[in-house]
Amino acid sequence: MDEKGGRTIDFRAVLLEALPPGTAATVSSVEQLKERLARRNRRRRRTGGTLGVLAVVVPLLVVALVPFRGSGHEPARGAGTVPVPTGTAYCVLVTTAGGSIERIAFGASSTDATTSGSTPPVLQKALIGGLPGAGAIAVSRATDTAYVASRHGDHDTLTPVDLNDATVGRPIGLGAHAPGPLAISPDGRTAYVLTGGLDDTVLVVDLQRRAVTDSISVGPLPSAIALSPDGSTAYVSSWISARGGSPVPGQVAVIDLATDTVTAHVTVGVGPEGVATSPDGRLVFVSNSVSDTVTAVSTATDAAVATIGVGHVPKAVAVDPSGHEAYVVDSGQNYPGPNAVTPIRTATLSASAPVPVAPYSSQIAMAPDGRTAFVLGGTLGGAVVVPVDLTTDTAGNAVALGPVSVDQVVGLAAAPVP
């Protein structure tokens, strides 16, 4: 948890220090727990009520047994058709925990960009739909559809958003699995959704049959997923252990998607939080949020080939479409400055000078034209996306997302104009 540049915040130590003295010692004995149960049961017998028991047990059963069917509780609402303005080169989509799906339409970057770096022009900002509990978002270029993983209560869904007419489709029920990051196969037929919490699996979702068809067990505490460019292999990072004092190195599970089986585990750094594959499929980049490093993995040998030091708490990682550089977003405190994006040359596997972007940075998405990367960040007063010119590695002007706090923006994806 050390910060580059001498400042250190050990959050665990800070939190322990904030606790009232002796908090841990106030734990009841097992006997006291039994007395509590006995008291409660006596009270129940007196009131003759079993309702309390039912109230506790019934919701649990419902959660466990009835997978959400999608069309029930909170139907997704579309904001109607908002046409993309003419001249749009591509769009950036952002989901918020408040349940909105925002779209920013960008024009083409000017071609006479010099040393200062170019900022693509913003042509339109529009709310294109609403989805309670919206989370991660991924785009299928094969079907011109974005998919948003969402959880609302324990009703987890994957919801298609048609990029042609900006309509929010009918959600696909995922059961109660706390969906996390996801990836879509290159043919647009299958989604692979990480689950959080308890079951450590990747859900395989058939997007045409609109059903979960398989689940693949991966290492404990999966955190991120990327597919090989040909769609034959998935790489899933796992923390392995987040508990206890001694840091345990994470792993990347290599999954053969023809058979949905794990064929190898590659040991990486501690706390892997981001995975990206190079366009030629030869390298996988894994950001290790606790080690403050990026591990480069060779797909030929399924072994780590380099460990590269980057900024504090690196999270999202993406490789530019030309395959020359991987970009890693650090999200740790860098008070009082903004977080940065560190470019990594794929040829030499070495880091270049970090590019300051915005405070609270978290995610990165590559524009389809391969000229710009977008980093999500901002302040509690307002979230922004910051364009990074990939030819000059300089940040352009931040594009405000409106009055939404940065801790409410949860998903980022770039999409070509259909």
């Binding site: 220090e17 904030a18 908090t23 106030t26 727990l33 509990g133 959880r151 990480l194 987040a242 509690l380």
Partner: protein, 180 residues
Amino acid sequence: MTLAGRPETATADFESWYREEGPRLVQVLTLALADPEVAKDSADEAFARAYERWPRVSVMQSPTGWTYRVALNHGKRRLLRRQVERTLLLRQTRETSTPQEGTHGRDADLWAIVAGLPRRQRTAIVLRYLGDFSELQVAHLMGISAGAASASLSAARRRLAELIDNDTREPRMPRRVTHG
């Protein structure tokens, strides 16, 4: 923890699990709820329920995760009820995140700083660093999306960093920060 139908082992098993997880849950709840009294009560309630259903809870994939969810939900409801009562009685509107009066951490300023974080950020960072859960687990425990948990954590980390003067690694008074 495969012990269904073996009551004696089951009890021993519960006790060793409880010894390990009990203190940590109380610590996590104390900060997450910013109220030691409600925290203690919710921890007791969650572990009592786990004990009551131990044969079933113990074979869950994560008895600990289940217990944290029960405790967090119980605590949240208690705080909400208390807030409603207070509002009715005193005709005062207060945020649920108002720290309980008279409570001080080992470091009183730090308690105020942590208790003053927005509830969601506070819960996320406490689960992550004191509870030692991963980000996806934090999302699961809080019943929010992974992205929301991740964003809350980033915001909380930064907010704490801003509020704590740690040049000497000794947390002190909050630093004045103007924040866009």
